[in-house]
Symmetry: C2
Subunit: 367 residues, 2 copies
Amino acid sequence: MIDHRYWIGQDVFVTTPTLADVAEAVGVSRTTVSNAYNRPDQLSAELRERILAAAAGLGYPGPDPVARGLRRGRTGMFGLVYDQPLSYLFTDPAILAFMAGMSGVWDDAGVSLAVLPSLHPDDAGTSVLAAAGVDGFVSICDVADDSRVAALVTRRLPFVTVDAGESSGRCRVGIDDRRASADATRHLLDLGHRRLAVVALPRGRRALTGSAGTARPGPERFTVSGARLAGIRDAVEAAGLPWASVPVQSVADLEPPRPLGRRLGGLLLDRAERPTGVVAMSDELAAGVLDAAAERGVEVPGQLSVVGFDDTPTATSVSPALTTVHQPLAAKGQTAARLLLEGAPATVIRLPTELRVRASTGPAPGP
Amino acid sequence: MIDHRYWIGQDVFVTTPTLADVAEAVGVSRTTVSNAYNRPDQLSAELRERILAAAAGLGYPGPDPVARGLRRGRTGMFGLVYDQPLSYLFTDPAILAFMAGMSGVWDDAGVSLAVLPSLHPDDAGTSVLAAAGVDGFVSICDVADDSRVAALVTRRLPFVTVDAGESSGRCRVGIDDRRASADATRHLLDLGHRRLAVVALPRGRRALTGSAGTARPGPERFTVSGARLAGIRDAVEAAGLPWASVPVQSVADLEPPRPLGRRLGGLLLDRAERPTGVVAMSDELAAGVLDAAAERGVEVPGQLSVVGFDDTPTATSVSPALTTVHQPLAAKGQTAARLLLEGAPATVIRLPTELRVRASTGPAPGP
DNA sequence: GAGTGGCTCTGAATCGATATAGTTTATCGA
DNA sequence: TCGATAAACTATATCGATTCAGAGCCACTC
């Protein structure tokens, strides 16, 4: 082990004392020292004082959490599993709102939140999951039904997947992405928009760029991106519009979402048949689209309507404020945290969403 | 321990298998099974295959990280210590930028970031620190030289304090808050501003409200807030202005910073002697001051100049863009992470800051 | 043919605590 | 005065792995 020795004067080095050292110093059994820390009612107050004083004198740091974790079978930590670089995690407002909710619950319960090294899609992150000394996992990986879930199962610890697909028999928290984005799209359609376009999430590392017709449903089936796209398509087709006429823009995860939204939005706005309504799969992307519109002097909502998704603080800080799908991000985090904390059996929780109409959408411009 | 038993058919329940079970099943020693996982070169490839196959067959999750951690003396986790509710941590852009930097380094190193339950100022969070199975700590508590540091020392693990005071003999990363805020203040003074005001950080749970004259230097000495206030005072006095004439607004940590800045900014702008220059101790607060100015029709920078601090994304997303003190938040996180990772001895690192002049400051209006 | 070295594999000690099942002594009611 | 009960402590096994110091065996060298 790492030898954290310290100097105690002269030429004497000593390693960190253990509970046994304290026991010997006081002349009691290890059990009693342990009880002094964990079950004060099991020994006399006088002896307890003596033990704690001796411990302080020796510089004993208290019972080693790792050893205690081994014996007790609990570590008091839950792990968060993510499949993108962590620096991205700390930049995504939606995930941060989720984490704020989650950490609040665990904070109150005195449990730590271990943010694990990110899972690489190729190595399935097996080693990362296998090496984490935690009591359970929350997975916010975009694709849930793959080898990474298998690795979680292998670990034989409780886990909750967030926004994941229809995997059965496990704890899962999410929203109805499909219906929510259908609602958002229908909002535009109800306003008379007929030339729609989509800016899809950059996550999942699989670009969806191309006309909708070419976006394959296969591996996307269980992703947030895929579900939202399906919902948009539902609404478009329900309105009798040809899905193939709706351009879908997306790329892999190479740049921050707002500049990305601006770039993709620009591509859409520069098309010959300029869309009058854009469905963006996140507020950041939508904000980027607004940026692109502003650059081109395209008025929002006069000439262009934009809907976002998530209702993060961005939605209300941009101008015009975004019409967007509100989802209870903090509640999602709280729910996931509680499921794990309470050791819930396989449970599927679907939280409600709601379209928040603000200033970025309006009636379609005349032809 | 928690008994994660599983059903294997008939009426047989079995607990999670251990390395010993695998060893017995294959008919080899525990050492050899351990080597199969940790030192593949120590056994024949053929036997290793056989062991891994048996392990998979038994449903062995691999070596238990906690037991391994005990034996090896390392857990592969570093703990982050914070003294405010965690939900606040996930809302503060400056801290998030810091964490992004930190987590990036640890992500690459395969190390987990354990966000510990928040330390309550009253209980000194001793139990939280004592119970964390980590290899070291990063502390971003506002006040560093108090009982919480003592608790860290007690734990006898390496730790790095961030933005903390002048504690000696430990790893510390920070900036020169005092000089940086003096620079920002001097910028306003150089522009001819003579009626200044300060919006101080809400952190530290000790309100500084009142005129500067009444803000006591004592316990604030080692806080970020205190250092920045001292720097502002340095510049004000160097310019020959009476420090007592500079109103300082702050409250305890009861509301999110932007609305708080708006409220406090409003109070300042409604004074008979309206200030022409406001030094805000964070960009969020500064943005709130801009909000207050906009509400009152006070032109920025025509009638009012505002400087922020940190240079978070907020600084450039508001309008007008904020003149602010840029500090290398991500680098700060990276540095802290590396110090811990490399087991650096007591080191003090002070990173450079730089005033970024943008659109929120201009010449003082005529009298 | 003894000596050397490399490859596989093993046994026992160890990491630092907690749980379980006592033992001893004092207290108390009948 | 006896048995029962409670209070204060203890001895030992155990949690699940890794480390260290070899043992056995084979090939190869001089």
